[in-house]
């Protein structure tokens, strides 16, 4: 029993540090290739949309950012549940590390959405259902980060944020659905946006590239943040010091 707890307390981050080190290049290289390649493809080699012109090319960064921000929240909620149920510290680190990345991607989705709105709708901001939902997701991320910062005790911060992340994840479907409903209630049909169904397959392929690239990028940067946090927490352990070349056996 004691051994098993020792494994959970210290062994797991160490194992994760080794494993993630192996994994990093397999995420980094395809992430960069897909993101950069997909953007060049979408910017220069795809014909312009016949309704929106060239501004539709923003989709290649807007949709991946929004999708991965959403997926990041769900990942955070899963990590939160794992942390609360099994008290796994690694899960708390994953949850804490995912929050700033997700918030940054949500900001990107909002910014690119606003810039896209100007040539499409003639205004920087439209209270459209999807943009409003992303805005609320941004607020949820910021609330989590603010709550984490307010605690002085690291473990209490992780557990409180885990509760909030799960509450948020339960609420997200309700929020999205209610915003969708609210939009359909207020939106005059004449301003309806071009439906997604009109997207041509040639336009879709670069989107698949940047979308998968963004997921890989998220995984890559998440691992980097998690590794930094692990090292910081484990700096007094023998394995961390041996790993970085310190002679811990002493003179």
């Amino acid at each position: 029993m004691a051994n098993w707890q020792w494994f959970h307390k210290w062994g797991s981050p160490r194992w994760f540090y080794y494993l993630s080190g192996r994994l990093l290049p397999w995420l980094a290289v395809p992430a960069l290739l897909l993101l950069v390649g997909g953007c060049i493809w979408g910017l220069a080699f795809v014909p312009a949309d016949f309704k929106q012109g060239n501004s539709f090319r923003i989709i290649y960064i807007h949709v991946p950012a929004a999708a991965v921000a959403m997926g990041g929240y769900m990942l955070m909620a899963v990590a939160a549940a794992v942390h609360l149920i099994w008290r796994m510290k690694l899960a708390a680190i994953v949850m804490k590390s995912a929050a700033p990345i997700g918030a940054a991607l949500t900001f990107l989705a909002l910014f690119t959405g606003a810039v896209w709105g100007k040539p499409t709708w003639g205004t920087w901001w439209v209270w459209d259902a999807r943009i409003t939902s992303v805005l609320i997701l941004f607020f949820l991320y910021l609330g989590l980060i603010a709550l984490h910062q307010a605690f002085e005790n690291r473990d209490a911060a992780a557990r409180a944020c885990a509760v909030l992340a799960i509450v948020g994840a339960v609420n997200i479907p309700i929020i999205y659905w209610s915003v969708e409903w609210w939009y359909s209630l207020h939106q005059p049909a004449s301003i309806k946006f071009v439906g997604e169904s009109t997207i041509h397959p040639t336009m879709l392929r670069p989107l698949m590239a940047t979308l998968s690239g963004m997921y890989l990028f998220f995984g890559w940067v998440l691992l980097l943040f998690v590794r930094a946090e692990i090292l910081e927490r484990e700096r007094n352990t023998r394995w961390a010091q041996e790993l970085l070349g310190g002679d811990v056996r002493g003179g």
Partner: protein, 64 residues
């Protein structure tokens, strides 16, 4: 390429400022995330190194 020249690619028939500012800010934010994560890894390594030095100093002190 669907554009006949680089300057046409830059202007995108009037949508250039919107498209390029979107991609530019995105590149900045993503690069910022990456650099911040690398910076934290460096800082964490420095912490481990100083903890190692402290431990070695203690060992030497106790062995004397």
């Amino acid at each position: 390429m669907v554009f006949s020249s680089l300057s046409e690619l830059w202007q995108m028939a009037g949508h250039g400022p919107y498209v390029w500012s979107s991609f530019g800010v995105s590149a900045l934010v993503l690069a910022g995330l990456l650099l911040e994560s690398l910076r934290r890894n460096r800082a964490a390594r420095a912490l481990v190194a100083s903890a190692t030095r402290r431990r070695q100093a203690e060992r030497q002190h106790s062995s004397q």
